[in-house]
């Protein structure tokens, strides 16, 4: 079992590193869906953009909280990892000092989770853009 896995890994050809395999994921992280759009997957890119951006903005409008990198709490750090996946949305939110969170609102916690999930979904979209760029997916 282990031998066959090792053989498979050895037999797999090395993926060529193209400019697109670097640009598409990077752009896709910064602007959700852009990694697909730059590879002419317009509809997929637009759907990803609308889904991720809407989820993030709804979270913000629900008075969700944005996590920062240096909070010291392990759960906050995990929240930061999720949030940072949203790319430019996260940077703008942080720069504008939005996303302070409203403890008084019951649904604010949903907003916080919406923003984290938007970031995590964008990470999946980034991986997908990379797979398209290296030819693993159409």
């Amino acid at each position: 079992m282990a031998n066959s896995t090792t053989e498979k890994l050895k037999a797999a050809p090395a993926e060529p590193v193209s400019a697109m395999s670097v640009i598409a994921p990077a752009l896709g992280w910064f602007i959700p869906g852009a990694g697909h759009a730059i590879q002419k997957r317009w509809i997929r890119g637009a759907l990803l953009f609308v889904s991720i951006v809407t989820l993030f903005l709804l979270g913000l409008a629900m008075q969700g909280r944005i996590y920062k990198a240096n909070s010291g709490d392990i759960l906050d750090m995990l929240g930061f990892v999720g949030d940072v996946g949203a790319g430019a949305l996260y940077i703008v939110t942080l720069a504008m000092d939005w996303g302070q969170g409203a403890i008084a609102m019951a649904t604010a916690d949903y907003g916080t989770k919406f923003m984290i999930v938007a970031g995590l979904l964008n990470f999946i979209a980034v991986a997908d853009a990379y797979h398209i760029a290296i030819g693993k997916k159409q």
């Binding site: 990803l48 889904s51 991720i52 629900m62 649904t107 999930v117 979904l121 999946i124 979209a125």
Partner: protein
């Protein structure tokens, strides 16, 4: 601007957008994407309804 969503509408919105992303990223052909997205959406919403009823039963 502040938006207040109910528990169900928040779950519905989440299910819609998460299913779109899952469908696009997890499958290869358009048909597979649509079918997988719909299945994810049904699972999310169905799970919410089942969980709601379980919590209702536990509360009694």
């Amino acid at each position: 601007m502040t938006i207040t969503l109910s528990h169900f509408s928040a779950a519905f919105v989440f299910a819609t957008f998460a299913s779109i992303v899952f469908g696009i990223t997890h499958k290869d052909t358009t048909r597979e994407m649509v079918m997988y997205g719909l299945r994810c959406f049904a699972t999310f919403v169905g799970g919410v309804i089942v969980a709601g009823w379980v919590m209702w039963l536990l509360r009694r």
